[in-house]
């Protein structure tokens, strides 16, 4: 009886219901996309390993460290292996084609990052070619690169024109692995640097330190920093996750704004939905009075209103959630340079569902009370 009435009520004002439904769908979809953007911001930190530390210059990342530190770090008990990398910051064609490039010590680097999967032959081909490069699958897709293609970058930090040959295309082991990176040999960079920028030769941007026991990360971090205290280049060592999160925190204001705005859209749709329910309930006061005259209690009327509101909200929410998948796919493709990993987290889907239900409940609260409290005589009189 209750459900039949709710269902009939939902479809009484077809146009109004359709419009409200559409509004809820758009809002839940926008909310989901914004939450996914926030998630994508943290993708770098999500994909980290607990057994990797990052050592950088204590002043800031733009200062290098001497290569000679590598052996000293390696000698600390508990350190299993050490690799190093330099941010290259080259431009491919135009600045719009931004992607991160790293000059790495190839063998040790890929041993430390097993999630970058490369076949044996590709690895061999890469190691044999001094100008070789390894790129992520998505990056190769973005520019249509194939094995053996020549890629030319214009250096900004290391001026000049740099030629690379693609010798490998890696795949990510997990969905969270960044497949948008570009790696080449640190030796090649250093060789050119020795010739052209001797002051900057034999320097590295960061050391990546592999440790055997994640539980000792804090102790080992301070052991590394202690080693170089009061030297010309003091270090700051932290877990890879903390290192990545420091980038997130630099743009936290934007992140916070996106978070706030994602809840604003829920508020907007709450106003729309509450208006729909208020109008609907006002138009039906006479019916509620009739129901009460027939002997139905105020709770029945409340359920009627809440039921209708929730039916529209959950249906709109479900549509919104379903549309999030294709929308995120299209969106992620467009923003590949900004967000290499753009995927919907399960938590986002729960949040979307919760938001839809909350809107349904909140929108019905006032009209339901009004309907339940309607005075039978006054309500019936309003027919006239």
């Amino acid at each position: 009886m209750l459900f039949r009435l709710i269902l009939k009520n939902v479809f009484r004002h077809r146009l109004r219901t359709a419009l409200t439904l559409l509004g809820v769908t758009i809002a839940v979809l926008a909310f989901g996309l914004l939450q996914t953007v926030v998630g994508a911001w943290y993708a770098g930190a999500e994909a980290t390993s607990r057994t990797r530390l990052v050592t950088r210059n204590a002043i800031s990342l733009v200062f290098p460290l001497p290569l000679s530190y590598q052996q000293k770090i390696r000698a600390i008990p508990g350190v299993t292996q050490v690799s190093h990398s330099n941010w290259f910051g080259g431009i491919y064609g135009s600045e719009r084609n931004f992607f991160p490039q790293f000059a790495v010590e190839a063998e040790s680097y890929f041993r430390l990052y097993p999630e970058f999967r490369l076949s044996g032959e590709e690895m061999q081909a890469f190691l044999r070619d001094r100008q070789g490069a390894v790129v992520g699958r998505k990056l190769a897709q973005r520019f249509g690169w194939k094995m053996g293609d020549v890629v030319t970058l214009r250096g900004t930090i290391w001026p000049g024109t740099w030629r690379f040959v693609i010798r490998g295309i890696y795949r990510g082991a997990e969905a969270t692995t960044d497949e948008g990176l570009f790696f080449f040999h640190w030796d090649y960079l250093n060789e050119v640097a020795k010739r052209q920028y001797p002051r900057r030769a034999n320097t590295v941007g960061v050391f990546i330190v592999g440790i055997s026991d994640a539980g000792r990360a804090a102790a080992l971090s301070s052991a590394v920093d202690e080693l170089f205290r009061n030297s010309l280049a003091e270090t700051r060592t932290e877990t890879e996750k903390a290192f990545q999160l420091s980038f997130v925190s630099m743009t936290e204001a934007i992140l916070l704004a996106i978070q706030v705005v994602s809840y604003v859209v829920i508020l907007i749709i709450l106003a729309v939905m509450a208006n729909t329910m208020a109008m609907t309930a006002r138009e039906r006061l006479a019916e509620y009075a009739t129901l009460k005259a027939l002997g139905f209690g105020p709770d029945f009327v409340r359920l009627l209103v809440y039921g209708e509101s929730l039916a529209i909200a959950t249906l709109g929410g479900a549509l919104g959630i379903a549309l999030t998948f294709p929308a995120a796919y299209a969106f992620g493709g467009q923003l590949a340079s900004l967000f290499p990993v753009f995927r919907i987290q399960p938590a986002t889907l729960w949040l979307q569902a919760a938001a839809a239900i909350a809107v349904g409940v909140a929108a019905a609260a006032v009209p339901a009370e009004k309907g339940a409290r309607v005075n039978i005589v006054a309500g019936l009189r309003s027919i006239a």
Partner: protein, 391 residues
């Protein structure tokens, strides 16, 4: 009898009568307009901050291909060549108005969250201040050349540990005392720390300058200045007017804010427009008899259409005004974030301009017209007899 249109009070009173509905619909629109306006204010604030950093008669010289001062490097000998160009202006004492600067980033922790951020530290030459008239000390004194002393921009001093007056920051194996705080009129310099160029080069063990800033005696001669520098075989540099240089550096961030914000505002406005449509359809449905009466009195279909459109417009504009007023209060806040292009922290405010007010109200009006058009059309199409019979 010829009627000019449905009287305006009729339109306005309808909104007042249905208070709840008007409040909810206009409230939704106010939120959308608020988002729309704040986004525009933000990118305007960022542009203003970076544009104000440059003076129109200053030119910045950096290494060719380096996009920022931090990435750039200019040897001492090269800097001397740049300094001796004939276009460079002189001050009253006959000294060349040139500042050879070193610009690096240091990682400082925020006072509030303790999170790290990259702060720009600029080592300036003796003429550094003379080249930037907008910079003035508000507390303490200037750093002494040759001492481990620095002065901090007001926004850095407020937000970072160790950057307040008489506090110290440690880098390059030294403690640096903050002896003064300066204001730079909301420009990017407010987010910087300044010190003696030669001292900082020693501390960072960086024997080269990052950039050379010169004041031109005659800004129209910039083209000649640039051509000579860029064709000189002893130099590998490029030069830009200072205003252009800073505008270029804010481009990516400003565009990001604008595109993201406008995309959001458009999507959100769909929701609010739907809200207006629902409200107006209900208004039409509830007033069929009234519409019939109006028509019977001699008002034309066109008058009815305009009356309902006006009602929707008024609804949207009242929401728009509330949204803009709320957005105006955002001017009390500043936002700081990392500029991706310079990899350094920059603080900027929300900036409301008459253009933004107009754009926001226009946006609200558009939502009102789009949302109200179909319902108004339905009202105008009702036939008199049917409408009167509906009672």
């Amino acid at each position: 009898m010829s009627l000019t249109g449905v009287p305006f009070p009729y339109v306005a009173r309808n909104l007042v009568t249905r208070r709840m509905t008007t409040l909810l619909t206009a409230g939704g629109m106010a939120l959308v307009v608020f988002v729309f306006a704040t986004v525009l204010m933000l990118s305007e604030g960022l542009r203003a901050a970076l544009v104000q950093s440059g003076a129109p008669d200053n030119a910045v010289v950096i290494r060719r291909g380096a996009q920022t001062e931090v990435q750039s490097g200019i040897e001492r000998a090269q800097a001397a060549i740049i300094e001796s160009q004939p276009e460079v202006a002189f001050d009253a004492a006959g000294r060349r108005l040139v500042s050879k600067e070193v610009v690096v980033l240091i990682s400082l922790r925020k006072r509030k969250s303790g999170g790290p951020a990259n702060v720009t530290i600029r080592g300036v030459g003796p003429q550094g201040l003379a080249l930037r008239p907008q910079v003035r000390l508000t507390a303490g004194r200037m750093f002494r050349p040759g001492a481990s002393e620095i002065i901090a921009g007001s926004s850095v001093a407020r937000r970072f540990q160790g950057a307040g007056i008489n506090e110290t920051v440690r880098f390059g194996q030294r403690e640096w005392r903050v002896v003064g705080i300066f204001e730079a009129g909301g420009s990017a310099f407010d987010s910087e720390i300044w010190g003696d160029g030669e001292q900082l080069m020693q501390a960072f063990r960086r024997p080269v300058y990052s950039s050379v800033v010169v004041k031109l005696a005659d800004p129209t001669r910039f083209a000649a200045f640039r051509t000579r520098l860029e064709t000189d075989p002893r130099l590998t540099v490029e030069s830009k007017p200072e205003t252009r240089f800073y505008a270029d550096q804010s481009e990516v961030l400003a565009r990001f804010i604008e595109i993201l914000g406008l995309a959001l505002a458009v999507i959100f406005s769909l929701g609010a427009t739907i809200g207006a449509m629902i409200t107006m359809y209900a208004a039409v449905a509830n007033r069929i008899t009234e519409i019939g009466t109006l028509r019977a009195l001699g008002f034309t279909r066109r008058h009815v259409l305009i009356a309902f459109l006006a009602e929707s417009l008024l609804l949207a504009l009242s929401g728009g005004v509330v949204g803009v007023v709320a957005a105006a209060f955002m001017q009390f806040f500043t936002l700081s974030t990392m500029n991706w292009q310079t990899f350094s922290e920059v603080a900027f405010g929300f900036r409301l301009t008459p253009g933004i007010v107009l754009a926001s109200l226009g946006f609200a009006a558009l939502m009102g017209v789009v949302g109200g058009f179909l319902p108004a059309l339905r009202a105008a199409r009702l036939s008199i007899v049917d409408a009167l019979r509906a009672a």
